[in-house]
Symmetry: C3
Subunit: 265 residues, 3 copies
C-alpha cells in the first residue's frame, strides 16, 4: 500500500489514513511515496506519480489524494492497471500514470455497502480511499466498489514546444535541494548534445554547462543535467537553483536552439 | 505501535525511538500518527490525540511525547483504556483521550527493572516510553511498570462559551493547508443552521458562507464548514485561511448570534 | 533496513528508494532514521549517524545518502561492522560510525551483475545503495558486490580544543526545537562541574546555568545541559536557542575556563 498526497509530511491526516487502513488490515505494510505534493497542485501530482509508480512492486495499491474538489460531484476512482491498483479522485491526478501502465478496468466508487457509514465531505482520503484500499488489500475485487465506467477526466501533462528558435518548457517540480525539474526529457533530444545550453528565464539569459553530475562544476555554480527522472534539471552545485534563478513551480523556461543537434527530434 | 510527538517530522529523535522499539521487538509495526504537534503545545497535542486515536485498531499502543517538563518530578504514565494503551508524561496530554476511551488502569512508570540502565534527563520519549512500549508489545503487563495510581493531571480542552450575543471559540490547530480548526463542534448546534456566519477575528468582521465542502465557493474565497474532525473550520478554497485571516494557534474567534437557530443547544 | 539521508522529510526521492527496496524484498521493514540532515552536510551526517546507529537492532542495514559527489569517481561502499552493514558514498559519512562499531570488511560496490542496468548519474541512493541493500537483506553476501578494499576516506569529527583559557567547540546540529548541539561531550569533563558556564558566542558573553533538564529555568530563559547525545547543548526553556543566540550549524562557541574543575580532563 503506497500513500501519495499533498497533506504535507507528518500531517496528522496521513496518520488518520494509516489508522483506518490498519484497522481493516493490521498486517499491511504501508509506505509513503510522498506527501509533499504542492497543496492542491493536481498537475504536479500527476507528473510525479507517473514518474515514480513503476519503482514499486507489482500488485501495489496506490492511494493518491490531491483533491481540491472533495465533496463535489467528482467521482472517486478505483483503477486496475496491468500491474497495480490506483485509487483517487477523478480529476486527472491518476490519468498519466494509469495510461502509462495500461488500464484494465475503471470503477466509480459508489457502493455504500463497502463504505463507512459516516463519510465527511472534506476528507475522502480517509473515509473513502484509505478504507476501500484496505479492503482491496484483503482480497476484495474492485468490481465490488461500484459500476465500471469508461470515461475518466484526462489530464495532459504539458509538453515542451518549439517556438521561434527556442524550446519552451515548464517547471513541474522543485525538490528539497532547490533543483528545478522541467518537463523536457532526454529522450526528446538527438544522441549528441552540445556541452552548454543557452537558457532564458524571466527575461534573463544564461549560458549553462550541460553535465552528467553536479560535482562537474565548482561549488555554487549553476548547471544543467538530465536527472534521475530523465528530465532536464537546472541545479546549483551544493546550492539551491530555485533561489539562484528565482524560479518556482509552473514557471516557463526557454532553451535557445543555436545548433541543429539540440533540436527536439 | 503509534508514535505521536512534537519532535517535527523526520526528526532524528523519532528515528532513535524507532531503533529502541525495534531493538526490543524487531517485528513490531510502527506507525507515525504525527510528529508535527506545535513544539511543547500540550493543549494542541491533547486535542489532536483525542480526535484521532479511535481510527486505530484495538490493542494499539500509543507513545505520546509532548513533554516540556521532562526530567522534572512529573510522572511517566502507562494507561490501559477500554481499547488501547497510552504512554506519555503526566501533564494532561493523554487526559482527554483516555477519558473518552474510559480508563481501566493507570500505572506510574517507576520500576527500574523494566527501564534501561542509563536514562537521559531530556529524552524520556526514547529512554522510557519507547522502551517500555516495546516491552508491552511483547506481552509485558502494564502492572509490571510500577504502582497503580488513582489521580493524574487533568486537562480540560477549552470549550466555546456564549458571551453577550456571540460564541467565543478557540483555534486549536492550523493544518498544512492553512485551514483554521476551532473547538466548536457541529454537535453543539441545532440541526438547522443558517447558510452564513458572522465572524469576528482580531477586530475585523466577516460574513462567511457555511458550506459542506471547499469547492462550493470560488477560488481564493473564504468559507466555513464543519470539517473531518466535526469542528468548525475557517478555510480559503485553494488558499491558506491562516494567511488570509492572520490567525494562529491559540487565537480566539467570535461568532455573532443573529438567528436563534444558530444558538448552541 | 534503516534509511538516513539529506533528502528532506517526505521527499519523493525517499519514496522511490522504498519502492526499489520493496520490489526486491517486499517483506522487509524499512525505518527512517532521519532525512533531515542539512543538505549535503557530510559532517553533520557523520556526527548524527555515529551518535544514533547503536540504538538499532544487530543486523540492521543502514542506507546512508549524503552524497554531493554522486556521479564522480568517489566509490560506493558496503561496510560490514561488528553488528551492522553500512552502505553509502566514500566521502567520510560512514567513517566515524563504522570505526566506532569496528570494521570487519569493506567492499567497493562495482559488480555490475548486482546492479540495475540503468544507473542515473545523480541518484545512487536509489539506483545503487537501495538496490543492493535490498539484495543484502535477502541474504546476498557483501563480498558479491565488488572487491574488498583497505582504505576509505576518513573524516575526523571536529573535537573541542583548549585555547588561551577557553574551550572552543563547534555547533554540529540544531534540532527542530532550536536546541544548539555542540561537539563537547560530558565525558570530557571531570566529575564535578560548576553550576554555570561563561559562554562567548559571536562577540557576546553569557553566563548560563548548567542544569539537568529544561524545566529548571523559567520559561524563555536560556540554559545549558548535557543532552541525550551526551553533548553540551544550549537551549531556551520552551523557546528556540537558535533564534535566541542567532547561532547556526557550523558556528563556533567558546566556554571560558574560570574554575579548575571545568577543565577538560
Amino acid at each position: 500500500m503506497v500513500l501519495f498526497t499533498d497533506f504535507g509530511e507528518g500531517s496528522i491526516y496521513v496518520g488518520e489514513m494509516k489508522g483506518v487502513i490498519l484497522k481493516v488490515n493490521p498486517s499491511r505494510t504501508i509506505v509513503d511515496l510522498t506527501h509533499n505534493i504542492h497543496p492542491q497542485n493536481v498537475l504536479q501530482g500527476a507528473f510525479l506519480l507517473k514518474e515514480t509508480f513503476h519503482f514499486f512492486p507489482r500488485g501495489s495499491i496506490f492511494v493518491c489524494v490531491v483533491d481540491p474538489g472533495v465533496g463535489s460531484t467528482r467521482k472517486g476512482l478505483a483503477i486496475e492497471t496491468r500491474n497495480f491498483i490506483f485509487l483517487g479522485p477523478d480529476n486527472g491526478l491518476l490519468f498519466p500514470a494509469v495510461c502509462e501502465d495500461r488500464v484494465n478496468r475503471v470503477v466509480s466508487i459508489e457502493n455504500k455497502a463497502q463504505l463507512p457509514e459516516k463519510i465527511s465531505s472534506t476528507f475522502h482520503g480517509r473515509d473513502v480511499f484509505a478504507h476501500v484500499a484496505a479492503k482491496l488489500s484483503k482480497g476484495l475485487d474492485i468490481g465490488e466498489l461500484g459500476p465500471v465506467i469508461h470515461k475518466i477526466k484526462d489530464l495532459d501533462l504539458p509538453t515542451p514546444r518549439v517556438e521561434g528558435g527556442k524550446i519552451v518548457c515548464t517547471v513541474l517540480f522543485i525538490d528539497s535541494f532547490g533543483n528545478i525539474i522541467t518537463n523536457l526529457k532526454r529522450s526528446g533530444f538527438r544522441e549528441e548534445l552540445s556541452r552548454s545550453l543557452k537558457i532564458s528565464i524571466g527575461g534573463s539569459c544564461y549560458t549553462l554547462p550541460l553535465v552528467n553530475s553536479y560535482h562537474e562544476v565548482k561549488e555554487n555554480q549553476p548547471l544543467t543535467l538530465f536527472d534521475s527522472f530523465g528530465c532536464l534539471e537546472l541545479s546549483v552545485n551544493r546550492g539551491s537553483a530555485s533561489e539562484y534563478f528565482g524560479v518556482k513551480c509552473g514557471d516557463v523556461i526557454s532553451i535557445m536552439l543555436d545548433k541543429e543537434k539540440n533540436l527536439i527530434s
